[in-house]
């Protein structure tokens, strides 16, 4: 019996350090055997039998969903890799610097054969501490990659001053406050920061809280959670990105599934092209399990998860990250799903 193969998607704007991170992952003594799907051969300095060249062929699904694009080459490559079952236990997909991560992610939800064999583990974005702020202004691709990420490696921090670092961090948080952020130089992050994240596993969605400074493995080795609250006063600037935002809405109580399900489906159908990621943990009326969902553009994946614990407050929370989202519409629509609107 074998488990589905985890797939890590590595994105990042040109020159951010994707190849450095990839070489680092491959050269470390970790006991894993990776199949690596790359766009350009020759940059990887490590001998690996299973380096596969990809074409980044993105195509639309014929299902009437305009933003439902997938990577056709990835479907073919994963099918072919299964001829080498047992020769690798994880897949890394490196995208080009200008790539949109969405078609890669959607491939793992849309294609049944891929879904049978592999599971998306996380989207990891490498960002250049020195140049990211500029790229967020002039490169929509860079903004997409930050907005889409589960893990952000803020690289080359040795090339910037502490003020500049705080500045770029604030820019990132204005777009995506939920990703795990690691500040490093030369992509020196522990492997478990990048691999085995289970970011798309509904069972692992435990909470939806901004992860400000929760991870700060450069300055505070060995520090754990608990001391983090002080960091909120650490001088992190609050920026607002004009184009890309994240919104979180909470109902301090239960949601009526008969109202919520049609609403969320309508929202992703209508606003799907502008919603990059969505996530939610909901307390449904008369249901003792948590309902958890996550989405990529128009594709939603949701299920009842574990039981609410007696000491847990039954609250319902959803998060959207996207481009030019209509905050008021989303809020009023969600609030109208409350099981008891008076509460």
């Amino acid at each position: 019996m074998s488990e589905k193969i985890p797939v890590t998607v590595l994105t990042g704007y040109l020159g951010a350090g994707k190849t450095t991170l990839l070489n680092r992952i491959l050269s470390e003594d970790h006991g894993h055997k990776f199949a690596v799907i790359v766009n350009e051969f020759g940059e990887i300095g490590i001998d690996n039998d299973l380096i596969v060249g990809a074409d980044e062929e993105v195509f639309e699904m014929n299902n009437g969903c305009i933003c439902c694009t997938v990577r056709g080459d990835l479907i073919r490559i994963i099918e072919g890799l299964m001829r080498r079952k047992g020769k690798f236990d994880a897949i890394i997909v490196e995208t080009t610097g200008l790539a949109d991560p969405a078609p890669v992610a959607q491939t793992f939800f849309v294609d049944q054969d891929v879904q049978d064999q592999a599971r998306l583990d996380a989207v990891v974005t490498v960002a250049d501490a020195k140049w990211l702020s500029d790229r967020l202004r002039d490169a929509p691709e860079a903004k997409n990659q930050i907005a889409f990420a589960d893990v952000i490696i803020l690289n080359k921090m040795d090339l910037v001053s502490p003020e500049e670092l705080r500045e770029v961090e604030a820019r990132i948080r204005a777009i995506n406050p939920y990703a795990k952020l690691h500040k490093t130089s030369r992509c020196a992050v522990p492997l478990d920061a990048v691999l085995g994240r289970n970011a798309f596993d509904l069972d692992r969605i435990l909470e939806i809280e901004p992860s400000f400074l929760e991870v700060d493995d450069h300055d505070h080795h060995g520090h754990d959670h608990g001391h983090d609250h002080a960091h909120h006063d650490h001088g992190l600037k609050h920026y607002h990105d004009e184009e890309m935002q994240s919104f979180a809405f909470q109902i301090d109580g239960e949601v009526d599934p008969a109202r919520f399900m049609p609403w969320i489906n309508l929202i992703v159908q209508r606003e799907g092209p502008s919603i990059l990621r969505s996530k939610g943990i909901l307390a449904f009326k008369d249901e003792d399990k948590r309902f958890v969902f996550q989405g990529v553009h128009m594709i939603l994946d949701g299920d009842l998860q574990r039981q609410w614990r007696p000491d847990e407050k039954r609250v319902s929370k959803i998060v959207f990250i996207g481009r030019n989202l209509k905050e008021d519409d989303l809020r009023s629509g969600f609030m109208a799903c409350a099981a008891n609107p008076a509460s």
Binding site: K4, G53, D55, E57, D73, R76, G80, R83, D111, D116
Partner: protein, 344 residues
């Protein structure tokens, strides 16, 4: 109490099957100079009777294989196209330098065509190779029976290319991603499987479209009957058989279904002389079905009835092939299990 599955089927053939383990996932089965051979995912060609293994792709996996009386042609993730002859000798036919071989087809006159990404090569029986660049990556290839003409499936349609002429290929258009491809034996129809769990067909003469939908999974195995009147397909929990008796093909006609079981059909192979289909399933079962009355004969029992396995661990039948006269049926599974049925 539910009857055991093998009580339901006529098991009179089971005793005529000899099973063995091929040692690796079976990619294709066939008869080379009348001898049963298997192409294996680990890069080897297995001559079943002598147990001889030929390392056609020593450092690679075999992705695709075509086996006929003259040779085994394989395409690998080592970028190579290799022909293996009945005496076990191999010859490299093509090398795409760093790219996987994505599609492969052969013709009885010795012509071979393959693709790697957008690059398509056609090699005629004398060894002359012509190259064409398709608009997007090519997933399926098939020679038309008349003339030296190659059909290639890609995103948004199929191109029909004459390798020996300079002209631009004729295009059969249909939006979407086209995967495998087959041509009817009379050369009238071109049929592709699609990303969206459907088949698409064209009558080549007037490019008239036909859609064949309703599959729960992708169709990855096609087989025309010996008279070209029926097309058997995989991808549903029955073998779906489309009628091609008239000039309109299956347009406006419902398909037949045979061999309904609780698991999806993964491989189909029409008998070379009779209206009988060998059907392999994702749970390792193999049946013979007679098209006329749907009668079923058991060839191989796979997973016990009611047993569920995750798709990744299912013992799918991955290769089925009859010999020329239809007396022997060779089969192989993703697990490396294999066998041969010999009819009296």
């Amino acid at each position: 109490m539910q009857p055991e599955f093998d009580d339901v089927y006529d098991t009179s053939l089971v005793g005529s099957v000899s099973q063995f383990n091929a040692g690796a996932q079976v990619v294709a089965a066939g008869f080379l100079a009348d001898k049963p051979v298997l192409a294996l995912a680990d890069g080897n060609i297995l001559f079943v009777e002598s147990s001889q293994r030929i390392a056609a792709h020593p450092d690679g996996a075999i992705l695709l294989a075509h086996i006929d009386d003259q040779r085994v042609v394989t395409g690998g993730d080592d970028s190579r196209v290799v022909a293996t002859r009945p005496d076990g000798s191999t010859i490299e036919i093509g090398n795409e330098k760093g790219r996987w071989i994505d599609a492969l087809t052969v013709r009885s006159d010795g012509a071979i065509a393959w693709s790697a990404g957008k690059h398509v090569r056609a090699r005629d029986s004398r060894g002359a190779v012509k190259t064409h660049e398709a608009p997007t990556s090519v997933r399926g290839l098939g020679f038309l029976p008349k003339g030296y003409r190659l059909a290639m499936s890609h995103y948004n349609g199929v191109s029909l290319w004459f390798p020996n002429t300079e002209g631009t290929p004729d295009v059969l258009k249909w939006q979407g991603s086209h995967l495998d491809l087959t041509i009817s034996p009379d050369g009238l129809f071109c049929i592709t499987s699609m990303q969206e769990n459907a088949l698409h067909g064209w009558r080549i003469s007037d490019k008239k479209d036909m859609r064949m939908t309703g599959y729960p999974g992708k169709t990855r195995s096609f087989s025309f009957s010996h008279d070209g009147q029926w097309l058997a397909t995989s991808g549903a929990d029955a073998c779906v058989v489309w009628p091609f008796q008239t000039k309109d093909g299956p347009m406006g006609k419902p398909p037949r279904e045979c061999g309904v079981r609780p698991f999806k059909v993964s491989q189909v192979a029409f008998h070379p002389e009779a209206p009988v289909i060998a059907i392999g399933y994702e749970d390792g079962w193999i049946l013979l079905c007679r098209l006329a009355d749907g009668a079923e004969l058991l060839v191989r029992a796979g997973l016990a009835e009611g047993k569920e396995l995750s798709p990744r661990n299912r013992p799918s039948v991955s290769a089925l092939a009859w010999d020329k006269t239809g007396h022997r049926l060779l089969f192989g599974l993703e697990t490396g299990e294999a066998g041969i049925l010999t009819l009296g």
